[in-house]
């Protein structure tokens, strides 16, 4: 028992990861066995979103840099994996202008998603080095500009993406089990990253950009490596997302979607995995509630005009209130910890060391 407790609490965040992983798995079993079909869809979507938010946390949470391009790399993962996994005949039909060479390419879903993630990571690796040198305002504008460039290319390159039109016919591969599996693996990965030497160095450079080099941290290097890693997760999540949603267009990978991911991360607390996971859950529930309300209002005829934007309005309002009231998020940048567990371990330790000399 003490062994287990010690294992759970020795590294900050380990408790969170195991708790969340168990909750996710139990939730999936419950939802799958007894909830209505629409819930299964929401749960699957939640798991994929959680993956994306965790990938965003890796870079943004640990470096403190507002990474606008993240959602662009999600898009690259989605497009690359879908182009590879969709059969040539469907592609010829759905994307009439596609390069013939691309139409011919075909891979099973799993390698297609992996290649999508690798392409996202490779592209990140190709462009990120100079971007990582910049900080503050200039850095923010550059990353924002980079997202716009990615978006323009997605909407204009219709030989590849079908332009601004919907890309459809993607196989529905991502089941609730695959999504939960992906979320749990990402959860563990994000945690291991945060506690790794690289993650630690990145957090040090976030806390003091000017002091970090003095203890031998190459700020640009640690940022760069994490950016590439985070983009890999983005691509992976994008692939799973595409194979759940089955049809999408470039506007799914732009500012509005970035706002959702960012809100999830910031409301929970960007500094920790607990925060990212908690924020994803809270916002998913809130969004679903507001969306239901919106569609109820529109369908029931209670009010005379159509309701648009209520969901985003609610989220933006909540985000502003949180930033004013608790800028470090619900969790405040810490990992989940249970004081009573710590006390029990301390007591157990004391008993152990005192053991031989203490005649009971």
């Amino acid at each position: 028992m003490t062994f287990l407790l010690r294992f759970l609490t020795r590294v900050p965040g380990r408790l969170t990861v195991i708790t969340f992983a168990v909750l996710l798995a139990v939730g999936a079993v419950l939802v799958n066995s007894s909830a209505p079909r629409v819930w299964i869809g929401i749960y699957t979507y939640f798991c994929v979103t959680l993956m994306l938010v965790l990938g965003l946390q890796m870079f943004m949470g640990n470096s403190g840099i507002l990474n606008w391009t993240y959602v662009g790399f999600v898009g690259i993962g989605a497009y690359v994996s879908s182009i590879l996994s969709v059969t040539p005949s469907v592609k010829a039909l759905g994307v009439p202008n596609m390069y013939p060479a691309l139409v011919e390419l075909h891979l099973p879903v799993v390698p297609a998603i992996l290649v999508g993630a690798l392409v996202a990571a490779a592209l990140a690796a190709a462009i990120a080095w100079p971007l990582m040198r910049l900080s503050d305002a200039v850095g923010v504008i550059t990353l924002f500009a980079a997202l716009i460039v990615m978006h323009v290319i997605m909407t204009q390159w219709d030989n590849v993406t079908n332009g601004p039109r919907t890309f459809f016919g993607v196989q529905e591969f991502t089941t609730i089990w695959i999504a939960v599996g992906g979320a749990i693996v990402t959860l563990i990965g994000a945690h291991m990253f945060r506690e790794s030497s690289l993650g630690l160095r990145l957090r040090a450079s976030r806390d003091d950009r000017f002091a970090a080099p003095a203890i031998g941290i190459s700020v640009v290097r640690v940022r760069y490596l994490t950016f590439v890693l985070s983009s890999f997760v983005a691509g992976l999540g994008g692939g799973l997302w595409a194979h759940y949603i089955t049809s999408f267009s470039p506007k799914s990978f732009y500012v509005a979607e970035m706002f959702v991911l960012m809100t999830m991360l910031v409301i929970g607390g960007a500094g920790s995995i607990t925060g990212a996971a908690l924020g994803s859950a809270v916002i998913t529930i809130l969004r679903q509630g507001l969306l239901q309300l919106e569609s109820y209002l529109n369908n029931s005829g209670v009010i005379s005009f159509e309701v648009y934007g209520l969901t985003e309005l609610g989220m933006a309002f909540l985000l502003i209130v949180m930033l004013i009231w608790r800028p470090d998020g619900i969790i405040g940048g810490r990992e989940l910890h249970l004081p009573f567990l710590r006390r029990r371990i301390a007591a157990a330790d004391a008993a152990e060391t005192a053991g031989p000399t203490d005649p009971i």
Binding site: L131, V138, L323
Partner: protein
């Protein structure tokens, strides 16, 4: 290619972009905040035109003035309600706040007005043409240039010859030290937001004058232009922002002419690649200002 028409078009576009960039840099200079909600002040002015024009019988020029003032008021309001409480927190918190305000205002327009674009009425002068230097051009273009000259002159006087202006320049240079002179922090920041909103409101009149309609997402394109122009000119000085606006106007018109038709749809991407290269090669912009990176605490 360089004829009188090109010149007038470029000057008018440049004037508009210069005002646009200036509004963004006023706030950046003092708070070091890249205000993502800046475009929404333009949208607000547009909806001012629409609502006042539809529901009141005021003369059009009064409606225009009120709409510009509305943009300034909303800018001020966002400062005291949202930015002031997070000012001492991290820069990222402030950036995300500005983004959230942007989303909030956009969706408020979506929810309370309509997702569809709304027609607005503007004075007849906005749709008339005039012949100058042998070129027939929309009167709007000439009005833009004249407005920019008047506003730039006015702001120059304000910044150079009034105590408030001196205090604002000082605050952009060293914020804490400015407070040690007895200048209230909230005063300079509020004034910066009011000027910023005012400039956005003025830009809105001409921006909306081109299409005579307003929609919830109308602020996004001008925001991007303001970003590009400030980056080209330099985030660190007001003169740089103005220069950046004119250079961007020129660049935009040249790319429109020079790029072959097949890649014209990539013009925005080209512009942003230029921005990124500019930031990487010359992060201080064309005009190196003296603003420091000191954050307001």
């Amino acid at each position: 290619m360089i004829d009188a028409e090109f010149l007038i078009n470029t000057l008018s576009l440049g004037s508009l972009y210069a005002l646009l960039a200036l509004g963004l840099v006023f706030v950046y200079g003092i708070l070091k905040l890249v205000n993502f909600a800046y475009g929404e002040y333009i949208m607000v002015a547009g909806y001012g035109l629409f609502l006042l024009g539809s529901y009141t019988a005021l003369p059009l020029w009064v409606i225009m003035i009120l709409s510009v003032l509305l943009a300034a008021a909303v800018s001020y309001l966002t400062e005291i309600v949202a930015f002031r409480p997070v000012r001492t927190k991290s820069l990222t918190a402030m950036l995300i706040t500005s983004f959230a305000i942007s989303v909030l205002l956009q969706n408020a327009a979506l929810l309370f007005v309509s997702p569809r674009s709304r027609a607005v009425r503007l004075p007849a002068a906005f749709s008339q043409s005039i012949t100058v230097l042998g070129v027939t051009t929309p009167l709007r273009n000439v009005l833009t240039i004249v407005t920019a000259i008047v506003l730039l002159a006015g702001l120059t006087v304000l910044m150079k010859y009034t105590v408030l202006g001196i205090a604002m320049r000082a605050a952009a240079d060293k914020f804490t030290t400015t407070r040690l002179m007895g200048v209230p922090a909230n005063l300079v920041i509020s004034v910066a937001f009011i000027i910023s909103g005012f400039l956005a409101g003025v830009v809105a009149m001409f921006w909306i004058g081109r299409s005579s309609s307003v929609d919830p997402l109308i602020g996004f394109a001008p925001l991007l232009i303001a970003f590009i122009a400030t980056v080209i000119g330099g985030m660190h000085s007001l003169a740089g922002a103005v220069a950046g606006g004119f250079v961007y106007g020129l660049l935009f018109n040249m790319l429109s002419i020079l790029l072959p038709a097949s890649v014209i749809s990539y013009r925005d991407a080209f512009m942003f690649v230029i921005v990124i290269l500019f930031l990487l090669l010359r992060p201080e912009g064309l005009i190196k200002g003296s603003y420091t990176e000191e954050r307001v605490g």
